[in-house]
Subunit: 202 residues, 4 copies
DNA sequence: TATGAATGAGAATTCATTCAT
DNA sequence: TATGAATGAATTCTCATTCAT
């Protein structure tokens, strides 16, 4: 069990970075928020960059883990998989707004080496959307003529939730999930084929 | 006509703010970029905030003007109006990436008074999307069950273009306009009624 | 006329660097010594390095100028020229102990680019010793079998004066000059040939 | 036998001090170089000063021991004794450049109490040169009119070797010894009298 | 004997801004 | 109108050292 400092610092830094942005964040303020001396902070992390790196990675871990869980819980159908990913993303944005904010916008302040790693994981996240969409298009379940732009749009609309959603408002998280899944499937023009064939066969 | 300095400063500041963010932007660097002495900068603008204010407003002006022009050039049909707004937004993001960046993300660093004004104009911009969508829904042209989320999504997907689009790539700006208009109409579930009636009447 | 700050800063920095060494020198302390605010220091010089650079160059200028003057005042005879250079060096070490200290030992803390320039000027200074010694050897006035080591030794013994000489002691500067010139000529084994033979031949 | 740590620490500290100077040396870096935890370092030595003290003394011990050995191996003749001391000094500078560097330049950072002791030992080292020179002058073997300056110069030229000598270059250590002994004897104006008179008297 | 945690003072530097001219 | 000088607060980070275990 690490001596408490670590977790407190991570949490404080995440908050500070989310509120002020990387440049605006003050290492002093992070230490204060964590209830830790400035020197202690440097005892744990070698600097602002290291803190950013830790937080971004931790946020990415959490997001990918959640997405993995949702995917595992659902079926293999492209529509179900896309729904699972959207669900995970919406839930993540709602439940962890600071983590969302950090993994979404602070990555560009990572130093080059960490940048690459970060981009790799972001590409991984993109794949979570891309694969079901591609499969859906291949199987003629998704009829969108623009799968790439559709993918980008789905991601963007999910990400934007963090800009305005505040828990305790009119919409519950479940409402949101339902609606965004519906919107995403609309955007890729999902038309389940099997039922029609069934009718056709009658 | 302001004494030259103004325009150079606006342009330099816009670039600096877009590249570094408000906090990371350096007033010295702006002056240098504009080829103007630091004192001269302070002669024209009372400080960093004033510069931000000027830039954000100028960006907003440009965007709203463009949107107005596109709207004026099109028809009254909700679908046409939504298409016009999407067109304007996509074009703006493509042609003025720095202006886009600034009006999109620097607004939150305005001081409270300016914040309010900024939010007002942002609401104005939101209305550009909201009104056609609402009209379309009322006229049963847009069948989306979630007009609010659809509006947010359309805005988000347009905004996200600035994150990845670089002129000179595979897609021309016109390609992009065409696709994003299509996606937006898909998202609101646009189904033109009149033609069907015509068919039905046959 | 530069606004006073410059000269005061140069003097203060020279003293601080000489006393504390480059690493031990504190930029704060320099500013205080110069009676200037810390920010003012940065207004004039871009940092510790720039200060070091200015001081080293200024010291080198002074030394080379003094050596040039002494050389110009003397004859062309290798012995006279060597004597002139030794004289200049001894006087410089005595009169400007801080300048001596700085050009002698702080140069290695210059950043690479400035290092090169510094080494160039140091080589120039070395030439002041090397050329007369070489000429003396060629003309059989200096009979040392080791001109290179002799040159190094002459330089070293002159430099070492700064380690112990304090004005106001037993020896005047002129005493010192006389003695070190004698030692240097001894070291290169100076034996004026022509005059003796001439007399002997009479 | 001290528990391994000691020697590793001494060696690491010597290197660090030689490379960075006392002020620039980092106690952390020394611990790392020695492969020892920071706490372990403080277990062995009470601080930076203690480390410096240990190293300076150890260097002095080594130098004085080497000089003693060379002296013991030679004759009683002032010239032979001076040659022995120069030999020892040159060899020391060549073989132990870091030890040389430390005992030569780090001593001034010792705290006052240790300073005194250090100066005492340095005076001891000076005596190694002074005594043979004085004896040589008394016995009219050395005819220099400036025995003090000659002594200082001999010491300075030996010390300066550390500034440029790198093993593996053109000159071997033995070459160097030969040349510097010759230069030193030249500087004190060594003219062996006794043998000539003896022969002359025969 | 040995160690990881923690500290407070101080380092150099950059910042937006003001002032006297 | 225009400018170079000057400022004080804040920045990140490193330092030698101490403490509790």
């Amino acid at each position: 069990m690490p001596p408490a400092g670590h977790q407190a610092l991570i949490a404080a830094a995440r908050l500070e970075f989310a509120e002020q942005g990387y440049v605006g964040a003050s290492i002093r303020s992070i230490a204060q928020r964590a209830g830790v001396s400035l020197s202690a902070l440097y005892h744990y992390y070698s600097g602002k960059q290291a803190l950013l790196y830790a937080i971004v990675n931790e946020g990415m871990d959490a997001y990918l883990a959640l997405a993995g869980k949702e995917l595992a819980a659902g079926g293999d159908d492209p529509a179900e998989r896309l729904a699972a990913v959207v669900t995970a993303t919406v839930r993540f944005r709602c439940q962890y707004p600071e983590k969302s904010s950090v993994i979404f916008s602070a990555g560009r302040h990572l130093e080059p080496a960490a940048q690459d790693q970060y981009r790799g994981r972001q590409a991984e996240a993109t794949q979570l959307f891309q694969r079901p969409i591609q499969d859906g298009v291949d199987q003629r379940l998704f009829r969108t003529p623009y799968p790439d732009e559709a993918r980008r749009s789905v991601i963007a609309m999910c990400n934007a939730i963090a800009d305005w959603y505040r828990s305790g408002g009119e919409l519950t998280e479940d409402d949101l999930v339902e609606r965004y899944v519906a919107l995403a499937l609309t955007l890729v023009e999902y038309h389940p084929l099997a039922p029609r064939r069934a009718r056709a066969g009658t």
